[in-house]
Point group: D3
């Protein structure tokens, strides 16, 4: 059967402040610029999740889009949407909430939960201009 990729795109809004608590305020400001502003800010994040698998000839589907949406909702949106990524999202604990770290954390949440498909890409856009993509490479 053909091997096809399915991508589900969803949105969530969250607050964050880029700072490493182990660094001084000056170091954080130098490193993260306006993203280190003490009061924090936030984004409308766009999340694209891509899975891959064989098309089931009976259903014509790799996985059910509705089921994939439900997985993303329970694993990601219920934890991230309308939350503060520095203080309120358990899977981000101890991580600077950069787009890179968000993508890797979401990979960890979804990877065990998309069978029989296989997770191949997590893409996190902070804005239309700044996007991180993780494909499971390296230690995570």
């Amino acid at each position: 059967m053909p091997v096809v990729r399915l991508t589900k795109r969803v949105h969530f809004s969250a607050g964050h402040r880029l700072c490493n608590p182990a660094l001084s305020d000056d170091e954080n400001a130098r490193l993260y610029g306006k993203c280190a502003n003490p009061g924090g800010h936030g984004h409308n994040y766009t999340l694209e999740v891509t899975v891959e698998g064989q098309t089931d000839p009976r259903t014509g589907m790799v996985v059910n889009f509705a089921q994939l949406s439900e997985t993303i909702r329970t694993e990601v949106l219920d934890r991230f949407d309308h939350r503060n990524l520095n203080t309120e999202v358990e899977p981000m604990r101890g991580l600077v909430p950069t787009a890179e770290n968000i993508a890797v954390a979401i990979w960890g949440l979804l990877e065990p939960n998309v069978a029989p498909a296989r997770l191949v890409e997590v893409r996190v856009a902070e804005t239309d201009m700044s996007i991180a993509t993780y494909r499971g490479e390296g230690d995570h």
Copy 2:
């Protein structure tokens, strides 16, 4: 000469939490739902500013787009971008940072500064789905 409208669209990212400090936590939660989440969240706001005026026959312009951009930058973006709208933005002091209040506050900042054109509309989109538009009507 023809009377033409010019619209400049810009983006800023800010944090906010919908809550009225005069209300109890329960009342705020009932009123604002997940937008009242204590840690706050944030958005990529899209701001559209529309001015109107006669086209200058020498230049073919109502106002210079570059000059309008500069006005928006100094009056709005320098105050709102990468800030917390509840605590760090002077023109929002004492206001619940709803899209409605943001639009009216931005009107107040821009209206005196776009001559010889005339401000006719300020449009603030929190997300692609939720937009407030202010045209200077009512007391502000």
Copy 3:
């Protein structure tokens, strides 16, 4: 208080075929071109609903976006989404399902249900290229 407009943008997918049952197949084909194709086709419709009202100083809101969304869901989306506009949507009965007629029908469903705000515009986009806007003018 300031008078502000709120716009809520939502999406629905529906099937339709442009044809007036009172006309012959030839007349329908001449009138509607490929949109009269017998098997029907469909669109991802974008619906923008705009209401207007005074900002409540206690809440900073004209109406609650969540409540407006809920009204649109029950009055429009539950009836139109994933339906055939020629045969399955009661408020479209007897109407050719053009963007114009869809906009007017949706006005009729929403207008009595957005108080204390006032409905000022219903905008229906069949595609990014073809949009109908109704503001309550004329008989409907």
Copy 4:
């Protein structure tokens, strides 16, 4: 019958250089900044044309979208698309090719050709960030 607005959105790509030949190079540079760069540049213009009229009860249409598209194609796109707006587009002769002047010129081309509907708005976006809107007001 209800009075409805129809908007048709189309795209064209054109070259232009902002300069008034009656001014010196220095004056043009001061006035138009990088837009006065001698070699010229260009844009993907988005044009939105809005007409208004009563819905015909037999067809459910104000005007046929296909007919409106055809009018825009012959009156505008055939003249503007893939052309140099300073030198090759007759209706722009003698005009600095600003978004304002383009919108007014297109109004003049379309206004006599959309009956039985009535032209109510021409909107020209040079980029997503810079938009001119003409509604037929003032001399043109």
Copy 5:
């Protein structure tokens, strides 16, 4: 010479209903949810076709975009646009019209027709939220 990929993005509108005629109505409803609604619905599909090849040093092109557009028009759009994917599109005969099956069917139509370039990806978006991508892997 450099090996470059070209992507052409086009749109078509079509009707469909997700159902496998070999299954009962109940099974179809359980499998496809609202997408199995008997009257059918439809979408504005976005199709992205990507080919790869060496840039011709004389022309600076891998293939002519205009020629690629023409191939997509005759092979795909003339068959799919404004059609019912369950009943009127020959290459979809016997297939449940999921995004997965549409992508694979379009691969089959285009793959023999893009020489001297090589087809590398067909991407079908039912909505901005739900996308299938086929790269020719597995049996098809």
Copy 6:
């Protein structure tokens, strides 16, 4: 550490005319169609630059988005934005300004300047419909 990709999307406006000076006017017209129009035209180009690298555990970043933006600004935008690609952009000298050649030229400008990350993709969209992607394959 995880290996993550970062994509920065920016815009520039430029003029161009597709023609190979070594060919006759007739040959250029046959080859490039309306894109060979003598007066030239132009586009709002969208450029997406993707780099790859290990996330630094101290910063949570592969590279600083601000630094990547600055590199793109100095290497690409300062040379291409509001310029004529046939006559005014040194890295395009002697090349027909197709999307393919622009992508390869931009690769050459950025590839030495994104360490410690590694350039993996340059994507140039002339319009939403026509996109060239270069990944460093073949001679350049």
